[in-house]
């Protein structure tokens, strides 16, 4: 089936944002339409408004720029009073962060955890979202409400039970399954695997995918069905290629969330060889309060990938958040 047969996607607010992929926020037309004789005053007002806005934007950016500036300093430089730029540029902060304080390892761990969670969210949320959008099965609406309801369950309520399950139950289930021959004699989940396991898919990913699938016209699937394609094949060959924008939003938001994640890693990662960057930063801060250059270097490391993603995929971030806000 050629792409030229794909009809335009119907306008459903959130999904349209994603599909259009453009300005997620078109400003409402200016209310101050030009009143004659006011031009000079308006121009001055505009100038002031822009100045104030750039100042505010600068205020938002200064902490980040300051941390970058500090990450290139020597420790002595940070103690020697104020200077805008480092007196002696050095990368020793990064060097220390990587080699002395193991942030290379932490970066890798963060990438593994965030990567695994993102991939599994993409897969499970798109499959589940497709099921909730298209498959007819008894209790579908109830189940979907149940999934959405989980968004209301605070993590701290789940803390103790989840920990208990990961430390006692799930390993014993594995033991019952008799997977010892796979080398899983005492599988532990109070570690990186546990962090990944409990975040395999999130309700908001599922919700986003379902909403997007609902906007795709049914004709396409009917055509696939006539061609004798199974549900799974339809999902894979027809729906998935159309869901690009939604997949992008889910992937990016999931990656961002799990890259920054603190709560579950703080609970489950107990061996320092598995720390993620946020946990590494937290531990570092408890141990060496004022070694600013490596700490700032580590912070820059934590922020940089997200900044990169944000610059490239800004529209997906905005549209994704807006779409998940719609449900409120």
């Amino acid at each position: 089936m050629g792409t030229e047969e794909i009809p335009p996607i119907p306008p459903v607010a959130a999904a349209k944002e994603l599909a259009r992929g453009g300005e997620a926020a078109k400003g409402t037309p200016a209310t101050t339409t030009g009143i004659p004789g006011r031009e000079t005053g308006d121009r001055i007002r505009m100038a002031i408004a822009y100045t104030v806005m750039f100042l505010v934007a600068a205020l938002f950016a200064i902490p980040f720029l300051w941390s970058v500036s500090t990450s290139f300093r020597t420790l002595a430089d940070t103690l020697a009073g104020f200077s805008l730029l480092p007196r002696h540029w050095t990368t020793s902060g990064y060097h220390e962060a990587f080699h002395t304080f193991n942030f290379g390892r932490y970066t890798l761990n963060s990438a593994i955890i965030a990567g695994a969670i993102t991939v599994s969210n993409l897969f499970l949320a798109s499959l589940g979202g497709y099921a909730f959008a298209r498959l007819k099965f008894p209790g579908r609406e109830v189940l979907f409400m149940l999934v959405l309801g989980t968004l209301m369950i605070p993590d701290q309520l789940r803390l103790v039970p989840i920990y208990e399950m990961l430390i006692n139950w799930i390993p014993s289930w594995f033991a019952h399954l008799g997977v010892g021959h796979l080398g899983w004699h005492h599988p532990s989940f109070v570690n990186r695997n546990g962090v990944i396991l409990i975040q395999l898919v999130s309700a908001s990913s599922l919700f986003l995918m379902r909403q997007y699938f609902l906007t795709i016209p049914r004709d396409l699937e009917e055509a696939a069905k006539l061609d004798g394609a199974s549900y799974f094949k339809t999902y894979r060959k027809v729906m998935l290629p159309l869901a690009g924008p939604a997949l992008a939003a889910v992937g990016i938001l999931t990656f961002q969330g799990s890259w920054n994640g603190l709560f579950w890693p703080a609970i489950l990662l107990q061996d320092s060889s598995q720390y993620t960057i946020p946990i590494g930063i937290a531990q570092f801060r408890f141990a060496y309060t004022t070694l600013w250059p490596p700490l700032m270097a580590a912070s820059v490391l934590a922020i940089l990938p997200i900044l990169g993603l944000f610059i490239v995929f800004q529209r997906y971030f905005v549209a994704g958040v807006a779409a998940s806000g719609v449900k409120g």
Binding site: T28, V160, P278
Partner: protein
């Protein structure tokens, strides 16, 4: 589905179950409502964790809403560099809390950037803001109002765009100025937006953990000044190894958040009918 049942729905019941036991890492003797009775008399919980959480929520929620709304109105105008401004305002919400907290600690340190600026303005403040009992919590309020305002801005932006254009045209024809239009037209029409942002903001604040953990450590120092309810759950579970008790605290917090949501929904529902 099984995933959601296993890791979301089931833990509620399991938490209730655990909370009735003197449970350490493994199941201990049944204590009935003992954990809850203990919690009722727990002064650290009430006069630090709960108090701090409520104070924090009371200050940070209005700040977040006001900042979010202001930024949203600004970036909703047809101005140049709109995308740039929106990105600049939104980005702090995306950066890792651990990184933000470190940067904030550095800037608010005793000889940090903030005190240096204050010094040049003629105020002499020489203490680190996060380590003093009386400034630690307000500093976290300021920090989080700043970082979350971008998210609130996006929610408000979506709400602003739901307002039909002809309403503004009508206001312009009636000769209403920008200020008056905002307060008389935009602000009341944003009611669904206000409600949504309020709920998200309150629920988020009641669950504040990251910054308290990063800045005050698991014990919520200095002297419990940054102890929050969620941090207390963590602390009880992993410092005191009393899982049963931690579960009880979690159940109480969940009940509280659930009640707040219900009340808000009822109030809002009624207001909408009226």
């Amino acid at each position: 589905m099984a995933f959601f049942l296993l890791f979301f729905i089931f833990p509620i019941g399991y938490a209730l179950y655990i909370s009735r036991y003197n449970w350490q890492i493994f199941k201990g003797p049944y204590v009935g409502w003992g954990n809850y009775r203990h919690l009722y008399h727990d002064t650290i919980f009430w006069s630090h964790a709960v108090r701090n959480t409520l104070v924090y929520t009371a200050f940070v929620v209005p700040l977040q809403m006001a900042l979010g709304l202001t930024l949203a109105v600004v970036v909703n105008q047809s101005i140049r560099f709109r995308t740039f401004f929106r990105a600049a305002f939104y980005f702090p919400s995306l950066a890792a809390s651990a990184a933000i907290a470190s940067i904030a600690t550095y800037i608010l340190a005793s000889d940090g950037l903030f005190n240096t600026i204050l010094h040049h303005l003629g105020y002499h403040h020489t203490n680190a803001w996060f380590t003093q009992e009386n400034t630690a919590l307000p500093s976290i309020v300021g920090l989080n109002a700043w970082t979350t305002s971008g998210t609130m801005m996006l929610f408000y932006l979506a709400a602003l765009q739901a307002i039909p254009v002809d309403v503004y045209e009508a206001a312009a024809i009636d000769g209403a100025g920008a200020w008056r239009t905002f307060w008389r037209v935009t602000f009341p029409l944003l009611k669904p937006g206000h409600f949504f942002v309020l709920v998200v903001s309150i629920i988020g604040s009641l669950q504040m953990f990251d910054q308290a953990f990063l800045i005050g450590g698991a014990s919520g120092g200095p002297n419990y000044a940054t102890m929050t309810v969620v941090l207390y759950v963590y602390n009880q579970a992993f410092k005191s190894i009393s899982f049963g008790y931690a579960a009880a605290v979690g159940v109480v917090l969940f009940a509280f958040i659930f009640t707040v949501t219900l009340i808000q929904r009822l109030l809002f529902g009624r207001a909408e009918v009226a």
